[in-house]
């Protein structure tokens, strides 16, 4: 349409026809409807005509009497409900709730019919005037007249709570009736349910369980208590399913959890003879699982359990590693640690659902107490030594791996991994040289594991040892062939292992005078070796070798497997029957401590006493005289004579190793400081300490004071200087 043209508009008036209206029409019609409503409430609806009533209501709205109709309805229903309230109130005892329920069902039915009759009003008048629809109006009136009736309200609540209480104390109640009544609250709206029922219900629940928890806790032990709490919790969840609104469940369980568990956590876990500690010591998997599941529900619950477990673990672990009795046997010591770890691993898997936070607590506890004993690295290495020497004989490959993995796990806890490396090297050297390692595969497997864990540097020397062993084998084969070719066969068969200096733990100055017949062979080898490897130097490590000797006694002949030192001693007796300690020392020049130990193993061990000592005694003295023991007998032909030696290190040896470790650390710490300072140029004290610690922690945990000392040494040597203004800052000089 064009907007420029003036629009000509027509208005079509509706056709009006005058409706003659009876002035009393409204009152009369309403009277009919009001009567009908009363009839409905009185269960006499069968005689009413729905169509007629509907038309009446329709006409009233049409003739603008909607207001009158609505007001009339409200008043009538209110009056009706007040009557109902009186009836409910009059009900005695148990029938009260049933009466209420019955009337409620009635009201609903009636309301349905009334709404149908007044459908037209609901659709037009109510919507236009923004009134409350009939159904809702009916519910609101019920709420105000019945549920919030001064005489009914408290009685209703009390009745409901009493019933719940009865059920909690073991009586059977009418759950259907309960469900209907709570459903009524829900139908009346969430706020009615929450305010008029749920809140007081939860309060009553709290009171109930508070009292019950008090009573339980003074009469039950932890296990029983938790069992009861678990049962109660399940009952409450069931209760919700039976007759409460679903939304109540989480609130209800929270209350029960708080009252039964949350408020008594500490008391429960610390309960003597039945608390957490007792469950842990007695492997009560089921009880622990229950505790875990219940405590998980309350805030800081698991933390409480975890903290106590941690402190218990640390305490027992500390006792374990510091008990002087245990330290006598390193293998047993480590086995106990492994057992403890196994136990807790199983426990966390079975009872705590492999909870990560618990696993972490376990790990940190182990790390804590293993490092309390400075000998742990040595003992773990000794444990491996024992396993690789004999413990793993006849064990399947998988089991071997299992044991090694467990050892690695303990190794990971060690802060001083370099100390472990030191000992491991010593023990490995002994195993390799005495040919006592059971399985080459197992040895190598462990080296690979160490390598993956700590890097190439950590194991390069260990691997060097294996290479030396292999090379020596080839060298020996060539040497022996050459000896045969040259007709230089001797009845002494010499086996030499050429060890690379630096890779092996050598003890400088441990020298002895070898018997001339051996020395001759040694020289031959030396010439042979140096002819193919010029520029090398060979020195004999007499403290690390072994020898097989044939010995003839009065009654028997034996083959003796002895150390090189013992061989030197025994060969002296080829030319003498008795020698004093001093003579032996002069002839062999074996270091005092070693000589005493070896003499002790030759003369003082029953069944191995190929020498006889005068005077008889356990220890070797410098005035002692030794005789060849002609009467020596033994059922076995082959006899291995060990060296009496403490399996673990003696106190001075330990100090020595310790010192070596400390010395080795110095350059490592300095290198780390210089590396860091080179890249950072300027750094403050605390940061250097933490960075150095971080860099080195895969090998050991450096002491801050030691780092400080290294820094000071670097300052003195002018690699670093202190900042002129801020003394905490160091500056890299170069």
């Amino acid at each position: 349409m064009s907007a420029s043209k003036p629009k000509k508009s027509f208005k079509i008036e509706p056709f009006k026809h005058k409706v003659e209206m009876d002035p009393d029409y409204a009152n009369n019609t309403w009277k009919v409807l009001e009567d009908a409503i009363h009839e409905i409430y009185n269960h006499n609806a069968s005689g009413l005509s729905f169509e007629e009533l509907y038309r009446s209501a329709y006409n009233m709205v049409l003739h603008k009497y909607g207001n009158k109709l609505y007001e009339g309805l409200t008043t009538t229903m209110t009056n009706q409900l007040q009557k109902v309230a009186g009836q409910i109130d009059a009900a005695q005892g148990d029938t009260f709730l049933e009466e209420l329920n019955l009337k409620w069902l009635d009201h609903n039915k009636s309301l349905q019919m009334i709404r149908d009759i007044l459908m037209y009003m609901d659709r037009t008048y109510v919507t236009n005037q923004n009134k409350v629809p009939v159904h809702e109006l009916g519910l609101n009136l019920w709420r105000d007249a019945i549920v919030r009736n001064g005489r009914i309200r408290d009685r209703l609540l009390k009745t409901l709570l009493d019933l719940v209480h009865k059920e909690r104390t073991g009586e059977v109640i009418n759950r259907g009736l309960m469900r209907n009544v709570t459903k009524m609250f829900v139908d009346l709206g969430q706020t009615v349910y929450l305010e008029d029922f749920e809140k007081p219900f939860l309060d009553a629940t709290a009171d109930f369980y508070k009292a019950e928890a008090q009573q339980f806790i003074s009469t039950s032990d932890c296990t029983d208590y938790l069992r009861k709490a678990e049962k109660r919790l399940n009952e409450e969840i069931e209760r919700v399913a039976h007759y409460l609104d679903q939304k109540t469940e989480s609130k209800l369980t929270t209350v029960v959890e708080r009252e039964m568990i949350g408020n008594h956590m500490k008391l429960l876990v610390e309960m003597e003879n039945s608390g957490l500690v007792s469950m842990l010591t007695n492997d009560k998997y089921e009880d622990l699982a229950r505790m875990y599941n219940l405590f998980r529900r309350v805030p800081t619950g698991l933390q409480t359990v975890r903290d106590l477990m941690t402190s218990h673990l640390r305490e027992t672990g500390k006792q374990l590693v510091t008990d002087p009795e245990r330290q006598r046997d390193p293998v047993e010591f480590v086995q106990r640690l492994l057992d403890e770890k196994d136990k807790y691993d199983r426990l966390i898997a079975q009872s705590f659902g492999n909870d990560k936070t618990f696993q972490n607590a376990l790990n940190s506890s182990f790390e804590f107490f293993i490092n309390l004993n400075t000998r742990s690295p040595e003992f773990i290495s000794l444990f491996v030594d024992d396993k690789l020497k004999k413990g793993l004989k006849g064990v399947s490959e998988e089991d071997v791996e299992g044991v090694l993995d467990k050892v690695m796990m303990l190794f990971r806890y060690l802060q001083e991994k370099d100390v472990f490396e030191k000992y491991y090297k010593q023990h490995l050297a002994k195993r390799l040289l005495s040919g006592r390692t059971v399985s080459d595969d197992a040895e190598r497997s462990l080296i690979v594991k160490l390598k993956t864990e700590c890097g190439y540097q950590f194991t390069s020397k260990l691997e060097g040892m294996f290479t030396d062993m292999k090379t020596s084998k080839d060298t020996m084969a060539a040497f022996q062939q050459k000896m045969v070719e040259e007709g230089n066969d001797s009845d002494i068969s010499l086996q030499v292992q050429v060890l690379t200096t630096g890779s092996w733990p050598t003890q400088p100055g441990a020298k002895a005078t070898l018997p001339p017949e051996i020395l001759e062979q040694c020289d031959k080898f030396k010439n042979f070796y140096l002819s193919t490897h010029t520029g090398r130097r060979l020195s004999w490590q007499t403290n690390m070798g072994t020898a097989d000797l044939r010995a003839t006694f009065a009654h028997s002949r034996h083959e003796l497997n002895v150390s090189t030192y013992q061989m030197c001693i025994l060969l002296l007796f080829n030319n003498a029957d008795a020698l004093s300690y001093q003579e032996i020392q002069a002839a062999t020049e074996i270091p005092v401590a070693d000589l005493k130990r070896n003499l002790q193993s030759l003369a003082c061990v029953k069944g191995r006493n190929v020498l006889r000592k005068e005077p008889v005694g356990k220890d070797v003295d410098e005035d002692d005289v030794f005789h060849f023991n002609d009467k020596f007998t033994n059922k076995l032909h082959k006899i291995k004579i060990g060296t009496v030696s403490a399996q673990k290190e003696s106190e001075p040896e330990k100090q020595e190793t310790r010192q070596k470790v400390e010395e080795d650390r110095k350059p490592q710490i300095e290198a780390a400081i210089v590396r860091i300072m080179k890249s950072r140029r300027l750094l403050d004290h605390n940061n250097i300490i933490s960075e150095v610690t971080k860099q080195l922690q895969s090998r050991f945990l450096p002491n801050p004071a030691v780092i400080k000392k290294r820094i000071e040494s670097l300052i003195e040597r002018e690699f670093l200087e202190r900042d002129k203004n801020d003394r905490r800052l160091y500056r890299y000089l170069a």
């Binding site: 403050d684 004290h685 605390n686 004071a705 400080k708 000392k709 000071e712 300052i715 003195e716 202190r722 003394r727 905490r728």
Partner: protein, 212 residues
């Protein structure tokens, strides 16, 4: 310094006017004490001290050495003497005597004192490449330089009792001055995280143990 000079009956030559006569006097004074052409040696220093009326272990002779920028203990080279006396505007023993107290005033300033304190350390290094002072020299020197500081007696006692350190390096020496300035006599405000040298950590630990 100038003011104190002016108050003397015979006024000192004013700044900028160093006459030929003055430097001759300085040379004469040098020759008077010198052991040879190049240096005033230990015996000369001893005589100088006698003439100044002070002991050879008096802090004032150390202050003079510092002011003259002496590089060697017990010696003043001709150059050091010439430059130093010129700087002090001194050409006679009398004037030198009068100037000594003003040197003590000068080190009352903490900043100057720090300079002097560090000089005292270097001054004692007699060997080439020497970087540390043995404990004995160090304690004597500390007592001379710091005099009556409350920390000093216990620290000296600690140095003598401990076995770990046989010598003191410049870092530790410098740190102790800061320690004296910052740490209360009862050690209550000592903070180990402040990157003090380990020597002082040990000292504090030792001293606190003794307090109990």
């Amino acid at each position: 310094m100038r003011r104190s000079s002016r108050s003397q009956p015979t006024p000192a030559p004013s700044a900028g006017r160093t006459s030929r006569g003055d430097s001759e006097k300085v040379e004469a004074l040098f020759a008077h004490y010198a052991d040879d052409e190049a240096d005033i040696g230990p015996t000369g220093v001893e005589r100088l001290c006698d003439d100044l009326g002070i002991s050879t272990t008096d802090i004032r002779i150390l202050l003079l050495a510092w002011r003259l920028k002496a590089s060697r203990m017990g010696y003043f080279s001709r150059d050091e003497w010439r430059q130093g006396l010129k700087g002090l505007r001194v050409d006679s023993l009398d004037k030198l005597k009068r100037v000594l107290p003003s040197l003590q005033d000068e080190v009352a300033n903490p900043y100057t004192f720090k300079e002097f304190y560090q000089f005292a350390f270097r001054f004692c290094l007699t060997e080439p490449l020497q970087k540390t002072l043995d404990i004995e020299t160090a304690t004597v020197m500390l007592e001379l330089v710091l005099g009556t500081h409350p920390h000093l007696p216990t620290f000296v006692q600690f140095l003598q009792e401990q076995k770990e350190y046989k010598a003191i390096n410049l870092d530790q020496w410098t740190a102790f001055l800061r320690f004296c300035n910052e740490v209360k006599p009862d050690l209550s405000n000592y903070d180990e995280s402040q990157a003090w040298p380990l020597l002082l950590d040990n000292y504090v630990e030792w001293a606190k143990e003794k307090q109990h």
